[in-house]
Symmetry: C2
Subunit: 434 residues, 2 copies
Amino acid sequence: MKQIGVGLLGFGTVGAGVVEGLQRNRALLASRLGVDVVLRRIGDVDLERDRGVTVDRAIMTSNAREVIADPDVDIVVELIGGSGIARELVKTALDAGKPVVTANKKLLAEHGDEIFGLAEARGVDIYFGASVGGGIPIIRVLREGLVGNAVRRIHGILNGTCNYILTRMEGEGLPFDSVLAEAQRAGYAEANPALDIDGHDTAHKAAILASLAHGFQVPLQDVAVEGIRGLDGMDVRFARELGYRIKLLAVIVRDGQEVEVRVHPTLVPQGHMLASVSGVFNAIMVRGDMTGDTLYYGRGAGREPTASTVIGDIADIARNLRARQARHRRAVQPVSDEPVRMRPLAEVQSACYLRLMVKDQAGSLGRFTSILGANDVSIAAVLQKPGGPAGGGFVPVVALTHRAREACLDAALAEIQASGVVSETPVRLRLLEE
Amino acid sequence: MKQIGVGLLGFGTVGAGVVEGLQRNRALLASRLGVDVVLRRIGDVDLERDRGVTVDRAIMTSNAREVIADPDVDIVVELIGGSGIARELVKTALDAGKPVVTANKKLLAEHGDEIFGLAEARGVDIYFGASVGGGIPIIRVLREGLVGNAVRRIHGILNGTCNYILTRMEGEGLPFDSVLAEAQRAGYAEANPALDIDGHDTAHKAAILASLAHGFQVPLQDVAVEGIRGLDGMDVRFARELGYRIKLLAVIVRDGQEVEVRVHPTLVPQGHMLASVSGVFNAIMVRGDMTGDTLYYGRGAGREPTASTVIGDIADIARNLRARQARHRRAVQPVSDEPVRMRPLAEVQSACYLRLMVKDQAGSLGRFTSILGANDVSIAAVLQKPGGPAGGGFVPVVALTHRAREACLDAALAEIQASGVVSETPVRLRLLEE
């Protein structure tokens, strides 16, 4: 199988996630892509720190240019961040004709014109899926899935720190300062939280999304930014009473030949999908002229989610490089030769909701619960509903069970029905298992 | 610019949407793809019916094989549906070496092995994004965005008819039969609703998602299916009291070398993202080993959403065909030469939440509202909150405004602050505009 070499610049949190993902899912990727993606070099100033992943010390170097120049490196992955040395290295890689994957939102929001222009001039691919939305493949969705749509509107919750703070302020009625302090202690907010809570991180991401959707580099200085610093708990409470939740949103609106890009705290109706996005999660709602509203939700940051998107970009380039030889993409790719078994329903385990119309007399309930117990079905909660529509001395009894095998539940329900304590076939619905 | 010819088989609802989309967004697509996608031929048994789109009568034929054989047709789009003639035509196209786009879930769920095997043998691409999820690019996400993940679990609301029925049963306490009858009158359910409400449509889609995620063709007969026919309103109510909503879910679980695929009504906790999916919308939650939970939401059916995904697939093939000449993909593609203006914040219009600490004396409120009115800001609702934390005779007043220009609001708030009726800077938050 053809090998594709990856050179990694920046061995921090996300970099370690990429290394781990490429190692753990190497066979899976090879089966899906038809090429073997191999980590060849890592460049970082710190060669000693333990990142929790095992790499051959010989592939590490403190000289990033060595990584780019290595003839076995086909793809350069930039995870240094910022617009200093990262900018120079990305330009060096593109100049050398090597495709680049980057998660660097600041670089693209501030210098996108330069970077994309250089890639264009050199005829080299640059992928930046992880620059917005972490583990949510929103960049790919905009570039590909929704490519047939004129984008009317984008609403994004793009900063997990802010969303975490807002969720706790609303849920627990806590003031901003104490939630921020606690988020800092828990590692959800930086010691210097300004980039997040003042909205600049969201603004960088909004500029990238707007540029993609509307086909021109949106200048950062034209993005109006208001963060959540100092948001008063009283307003979170009043908004809630009015039927809203407050979210820090990136808002991108297209109106004829005008585009608005802004970031500010926004009241979202409680029934809206964006209002359900809690804690550190991100979500982006995109309204296309053909699709209508679509929404993409997931973890907007973190080692493995962000690495997942970086690897998705690496995979795309690897597929392209492979395509120079054979460009066909298989629809359903077998992952290994080891056979996979379809598990029959009888072996599936679920927690269940049971509703039985039980004879309204002493002992009925005990009979019902003992039959469940005898069949290895244990009960989490029982509600005996008063009244109900049944006549003739039968009352509804609702039970939630713990996880049990379908076969056990089938046997228990058959036995209950045969016992004569219920008036009709018991209702059995399964609970979502998370 | 290079032209890529599309041949359409099946000029029904979605077919008409594809024609309209390709016409309306032709320039947009050309700018994004670097090729001009042109509709060349349409094959349908009915050459006369008005589909609400204008096409040259000369490109229409009742002979589908003519469409496939046309040398100007580079991509064949199959929107006939079912596994009869559609199966033969897809095979004919692949045999002729023409890439195929299809939305045909039944064909792929029942004969995926044959169809994908033929595409593989001929080295031709087959795309099927619109077979699951309508306007949600879930197939692309699984094949590309999450390609670096082992997929642990998929939970999908994949049938809009069922979700509409369940939403109305819960929201309005209506019985199944009357909601179904009404959905049929409104066109949300078929005259023969069995395919939807008995879960078979969801099962077809679940089989396709499971096949993609796990790399082998999942046999339809191994998918356990239970629909929502006859679901009792009492159980919807009891579930709600217990903190759940009932949804018809496709559940796909990977556990070592075993896979479960099942479809059944499922209790979903009210705070869960899937519980917020209302009406005809679909959503798919995918748990990858790297991303954790991600969710994709949108319209799961309908002319334009489904056509959007079909066009996304056409675009992918067109990019591939273009790539034989030049394979570089531009990151930010200018859409037209017409300049786009960044709209400054002062010109943006928003509805707002205002909270002012107002002097607790006669006339204060009137002063406040008349200043807003004089600045063209009209009020939708005012709440005078009793008490509040302010001392010194100031009470919180909350107002929701109608849409107003930022500049008008700025002026009004400045005037209010200067008037002396408020004790501190007014709080102004914007409402989400849908």
